[in-house]
Symmetry: C2
Subunit: 206 residues, 2 copies
């Protein structure tokens, strides 16, 4: 792309560094900002800088927070003996939307992935093991994505906590609500058969 303006080229280059945004999309976004009042660009940049510079991570569960402790860890009505292990804050938000979990979370900050160069030491795993060692944890629920990396991470942590007197579980794998059986892959279908639930229980979940 030949740009008629260095300012434009610079802005497009910066925006196109965001994941999933190519040069063409970046140009479209940047030209949109030029057509809007300058307030919008100012608001956008102030919000991004504010987030990047002032954001905190909860010292207990490592989720994104405006304070030292997040709202969930601060809430005395939540059960800190049940810990749901997730990859990032999006998973916390998704699980909170179900309104079914009343324990604490532990945000790993990623998954173990040799291909992407993510080693266990880069994740918040040590603090999770320490919580288990302190003896206050009764149950660990693994809620990572059902991928090779997710399973590897689950297993890596499981090996280190399996000798402690706690329950470990993972969220159920199975046919998603609304899915057609014929389009499900055989591994999912197989697991959903092996981990079948009593019919009365399935009624309760609805």
């Amino acid at each position: 792309m030949n740009f008629p303006s260095k300012l434009l080229e610079n802005a497009v280059n910066e925006v196109s560094q965001l994941p999933g945004i190519g040069k063409r999309t970046a140009l479209r976004l940047v030209l949109h900002l030029l057509r809007q009042p300058a307030d919008q660009t100012a608001g956008l940049t102030t919000a991004l800088l504010g987030l990047r510079n002032d954001i905190k991570y909860c010292k207990n569960c490592h989720t994104i927070s405006d304070r030292e402790l997040c709202e969930i860890c601060e809430n005395p009505s939540r059960d800190n003996s049940i810990i749901c292990v997730v990859e990032d804050i999006r998973d916390v938000m998704a699980l909170e939307n179900t309104q079914l979990f009343k324990g604490h979370y532990h945000v790993l900050g990623g998954k173990i992935s040799p291909i992407d160069g993510v080693a266990p030491s880069q994740l918040n795993i040590v603090t999770l093991i320490n919580k288990v060692k302190e003896g206050k944890v009764k149950e660990i629920i693994f809620a990572l994505s059902s991928t090779m990396e997710g399973d590897t991470t689950n297993f890596y942590i499981y090996k280190q906590i399996k000798d402690f007197d706690i329950i470990t579980s993972t969220i159920a794998r199975g046919i998603a609500i609304g899915d057609e059986l014929e389009y499900a892959d055989e591994i999912t279908l197989g697991r959903s058969l092996i981990h079948r639930v009593p019919f009365e229980n399935s009624l309760k979940m609805l």
Copy 2:
């Protein structure tokens, strides 16, 4: 979406105001920036603010430029008697990439669109008419999108300049290079038949 952090919510709301970016994508982009060094966010915001505050529009052709006159209008080897009328700077960049046009451009800044509330007075039409009135223009080439709005804009301008002694033309509509005939719509196919070119000419264009 329930956000655990006001800073995060604010950033997501600002980013999701960009066209084609929903809340989920905005969250993904913002979390990406948090994982990158703070330099990247600083670079992005500086580039956007620089563009928004310091950008100029060429006083001759209204394209985006770093100076009073754009590189094309400043270039003495370009023919200012042939003017190619386009919607925005992306069209200028696309046409420049062909390296086939050696005249000047005139950037309208949009298309007449009653549905989107874009009236002729909001576009750079008066300055184009004035150029024609000054008598230096020999040819006007309309290079707007082949849509209802593009055709309306073409016709609106054409009515005002048709009595002057100039050539007016529009870029050819037809089957794009590489397209299968059977998938072309009948209007395009019909136009490409009516405006057929001598075979020798078509060889020259390759």
